[in-house]
Amino acid sequence: MNGQSLKQAGRPARPAVAALREIDPTKVIYLALAATLVIGWVLVAVDGGDFLTVETIVGIQQRSAALGIVAVGQTLAILAGSLDLSVAYLISLCSLVAAETMAGRDGGIAAGVAAVLAVSALVGLVNGMVITRLRVHAFIATLGTALIIKGVVDHLYDGPAGSVPDSFQRLGYDRIGPVPVSALLWAAVAAAAWFLLRRTRLGHRIYAVGGDEEVARLSGVRTDRVVVLTHVLCSVCAGVAGLLLAARLGAGAPTVGTDGGYDLESIAAVVLGGTALAGGKGGVAGTVGGVLLLAVLDSVFNQLEVNSFFKDVVRGLVIVIAVAVYARRRKGRQI
């Protein structure tokens, strides 16, 4: 699936025709998003409904906030040439840690947030260490971590536990006009990640490591450090999502992460946003678009009361088709 970019490096520039065919995935995804909105609006109107009500707009944002935050983290991991399958269980864990620590006390909020950040960062550290020090493929490493967390959570919890104070629930329910606080939180996280990738050294190095780890290493980048840091950030994003969900649910839930399918869906959203699964290419802007697209689709289906099985079929098609479109850029590489 990759290793090609590396070989490209030594080869002369490709003919201009290929250059013309290049597509900027970020543009594509936002075009697709716009198109979906229009089509959705029409379909719902035909169905006799009203698509763009405040409720639906808020709904779209509410539904996408948690996934959005996870996906931003996942973007970092994937850009660095890694990926994280443990986010779903980590989210469950974090929602519980938050709710348990707060235990309904306003005073507990600070402690709860701190605890979540600590736990998630720790898990990210473990992921990163296993991948870099023990040289375990990220797929297996994070799958293993996922199982470990699952076991611990299932062992300790028999269902929703703990509770977050009403003041904290506002994070999940309040909104400024049509914009929920949760959406703002997502926006903040995304902006931070964008800034990180664009303006900081770590950001540049994440692209480098994802583009070609060996090149980065020989250029003096401490690649292992970058990978570990990236995983910490990715896990912390999952932690934040866990906090958000705890606020939404008013309690911690041992299955909220997996029910949400945040692991594979976040990866799907990232790739849908045009980030190359092999790493080194793409960015947060695309991911945000990808998440929104999925959310809008969801919302349209909701309005039309399409059953969930049909939704899955469409989701699957959308993801594959989108990536197929992006893949046209890599044309001319094959022999």
Partner: protein
């Protein structure tokens, strides 16, 4: 391996610290529904492990008592019956003209919910006065159901039916909705009494006890019982097991194992075969849901052993097996006909008729005597017999059955 120990240790310990450490100052669980977590205390009882945090003696006693009470109403329409109802006035919700009924569904991701969902749609179709029926499927996601409920409030529903995905976590959303429309909750409950009525059958304790008592009666003293559970951490299932456990602990039977099957038939069969191998003979099998009952039965057949006393559920494939194999069995039920009741309740409420605050539906169990009345060979294997849908238009095709 050794290289990883520290890592795991980190994760595990940190979790335990955060979990246990923080629950210590949390007040003990108040109601039966709210859960509090803590590191597991030491095992007790006859191989049945520690009692679940969900176990609430009062509810347990109440449910067991309910089983013997005669429900009010037409016995031929159990979904309209109620066990000692405390009626509440709904005059303030009275409304004329067409009804826009809304439903926030937790999921349709298993056969039980499929059967129920179809029954509910059929029920809606029965009532001309329902001009619009809007249903959103949360696909088993708490977060989605919360926004679904919020979204429905914007669609001018006259009444909102909620089948919560989980208990504690949906309470805030339901509370919010109560302010705007009359809310009817069924199947799982929520930690608030703001809904006009909460509809469900007697409940998990009764379900669990029905099966356990049957085994205690059929299995000779000292006999070996294997308990199969789907998965930990689901309140409904927890109550079933905790009731069974309470029953077993009082009895002479020996519970040789409590295993989780993830509702996976293959795993169930493997687990049961392992136990047959290890113990030579198993005298009874209890399970908290019937999905894998047939697989368990087959494990005995394949091992060339007589099928012992079995607890199943009202799924066709099990009833069929029961009939064909002349098993010693019982099928406690968690009737899917409860999906009809909320629609009826909603219409009552909007008509200003009073309804029970907590609407307890009867929860029959299928025994060898009643087996034939429930067994319907023309229905799909995972159809639930107590759908109360036999008389409805579109039966059996809409429920996946064949005309016969």
């Amino acid at each position: 391996m050794s290289r990883n120990r520290p890592l795991v240790a980190l994760v595990v310990t940190s979790t335990i610290v955060f979990a246990a450490g923080c629950t210590s100052d949390k007040p003990p669980a108040a109601t039966g529904q709210s859960a509090s977590a803590s590191a597991a205390p030491a095992a007790t009882g006859a191989g049945t492990g520690e009692q679940s945090k969900f176990f609430v003696q009062a509810d347990f006693d109440a449910q067991l008592a309910m089983r013997t009470k005669t429900p009010q109403g037409d016995a031929s329409r159990p979904w309209e019956q109620a066990i000692d109802p405390q009626m509440v006035s709904t005059a303030k919700y009275k409304k004329d003209g067409g009804v826009h009924l809304c439903f926030s569904n937790a999921a349709v991701n298993n056969p039980w919910r499929q059967v129920g969902w179809k029954s509910m749609q059929a029920e809606v179709a029965l009532h001309k006065e329902i001009t619009k029926f809007t249903a959103l499927d949360a696909e088993g996601k708490d977060d989605k159901q919360i926004s679904d409920i919020a979204e429905l409030q914007g669609q001018g529903c006259d009444a909102l039916i909620v089948s919560p995905n989980t208990t504690a976590t949906l309470t805030p959303a339901v509370k919010a909705a109560c302010g705007k429309v009359p809310v009817i909750v069924f199947d799982r409950g929520v930690d608030t009494d703001c809904p006009v009525t909460f509809i469900n059958p007697i409940g998990g304790y009764a379900f669990g006890a029905d099966g356990a008592e049957f085994l205690v009666e059929k299995v000779p003293a000292g006999g070996k019982v294997l308990a199969l559970r789907i998965l930990p951490g689901v309140d409904v299932l927890e109550t079933r097991w905790s009731a069974a456990k309470a029953t077993f602990d009082k009895s002479q039977v020996q519970v040789v194992g409590v295993e989780f099957t993830d509702g996976d038939a293959a795993k169930t069969k493997s687990v049961v075969s392992d136990y047959i191998q290890r113990h030579g003979k198993i005298d009874g099998v209890w399970m908290d849901a019937g999905a894998t009952a047939v697989a368990a039965v087959e494990a005995f057949e394949d091992a060339g052993q007589p099928v012992p006393a079995m607890v199943g559920e009202d799924q066709q494939d099990f009833l069929q097996k029961w009939k064909d194999g002349g098993l010693t069995a019982i099928a406690p039920t968690y009737p899917t006909y409860q999906w009809r009741t909320p629609v009826i309740a909603a219409l009552k409420i909007l008509a200003g008729e009073e309804v029970p605050k907590t609407w307890k539906l009867p929860q029959p169990k299928i025994t060898s005597d009643t087996l034939d009345t429930y067994l319907r060979p023309n229905m799909p294997p995972l159809h639930y017999a107590l759908c109360g849908c036999e008389e409805m238009p579109g039966f059996p095709e809409n429920w996946g059955g064949k005309k016969s």
